[in-house]
């Protein structure tokens, strides 16, 4: 089974994450090699290279695996360098609340803003951890009106700029 893993493309980020997904009680109470084994086996089962029944038969008992990956990846893992948006374009930040993704500040999710600056393409680090490999994406500084973010509690004329990856943005209608 371990040999067959060579045919699946598993990167370091996916492997680390498969260990991160272990049940905390299991992780803390097991020796190091068991973390490795659990991570590897979880990935094998998820890739279809082994089944839970088979594992438990061979182990002669329960074989706890890591928890399912609940990190929602954006639809598109294509690396991009060329910017889709230009300075002055109106955009909206996607509504998106997966656990573990912390690069898009929550206070701008779903809000409309204007592109004020393009900062080139950079690696989206949270994608790597959730199994997507290193993906580059254009980064923009997006300006939001205080009122857009906070409604009545906002202040006319004040603006807040947030630096965001292109995949967090969609066209604004």
């Amino acid at each position: 089974m371990i040999g067959s893993l060579g045919t699946l493309s598993i990167n370091g980020g996916m492997f680390r994450h498969s260990i991160e997904r272990m049940d905390p009680a299991h992780y803390l109470s097991s020796p190091y090699f068991e973390h490795w084994l659990t991570g590897v086996t979880t990935l094998a089962v998820e890739a279809g290279a082994a089944s839970v029944d088979e594992l438990e038969r061979r182990a002669g008992g329960r074989f706890p695996l890591s928890r399912p990956d609940r990190g929602l990846l954006p639809d598109d893992l294509t690396p991009r360098k060329e910017p889709r948006y230009a300075v002055g374009d109106e955009v909206r930040v996607r509504e998106w609340h997966p656990p573990g993704h912390t690069r898009a500040p929550r206070y701008v999710q779903g809000k409309r803003g204007t592109i004020v600056r393009f900062d080139g393409a950079h690696n989206v680090s949270d994608i790597e951890a959730h199994g997507g490999g290193f993906v580059t994406d254009p980064v923009y500084s997006v300006r939001f009106a205080s009122r857009e973010l906070w409604g009545e509690a906002g202040t006319d004329g004040d603006v807040i700029h947030v630096d965001l990856f292109e995949r967090y943005l969609e066209d604004s209608q």
């Binding site: 973010l149 004040d158 603006v159």
Partner: protein, 197 residues
Amino acid sequence: MTADHHHPAELAPVEARIAAIESVLVEKGLLDTEAVDAIVRNFEDNLGPMNGAKVVARAWTDQAYKERLLADGTAAIRELGFEGPEGDYMVVVENTPEVHNLVVCTLCSCYPWPTLGLPPKWYKAPAYRSRAVREPRKLLAEMGTVIPDGVEIRVWDSSAEARYLVLPMRPDGTDEMTEEQLAGVVTRDSMIGVQRL
């Protein structure tokens, strides 16, 4: 200051954990104590707001430099010898009579190390990080800086690669000062944007 061996100083758990990580990594050859010491010394001796102050003073006295600084902050700051981690992508934002800039990192505490050193404790606190984007005007007033109603406040949340430095307005009464004297007038807080000079 040595720990009294008859009454060993109790370590907080986090302090013990940090010491444990260091000792394990040094043992495995993944960390070199001297390299760690050198980084600490670099922060203590070389990195700090005195660097950013030189950038500001140069911008105040050299119009061409100021234009380069606003067009490409990283390159212009590097001209003065300041660069390195957390300074690889610098954006300088200029205060004017119509605009006041304020910098924050809502997600952690990103801060331009080469020009400002390490952030003050309040910059890392949840209160600053959430209020700077939600109610900057009120927050600034509480910190002693009143921004008149007609002036636009622009908040910059360093949520990706860019690190921001505020270029404060040159205060009145400084016309006769040399560049060096001007650098002495520029404070850390004015380059974060919580203070006007």
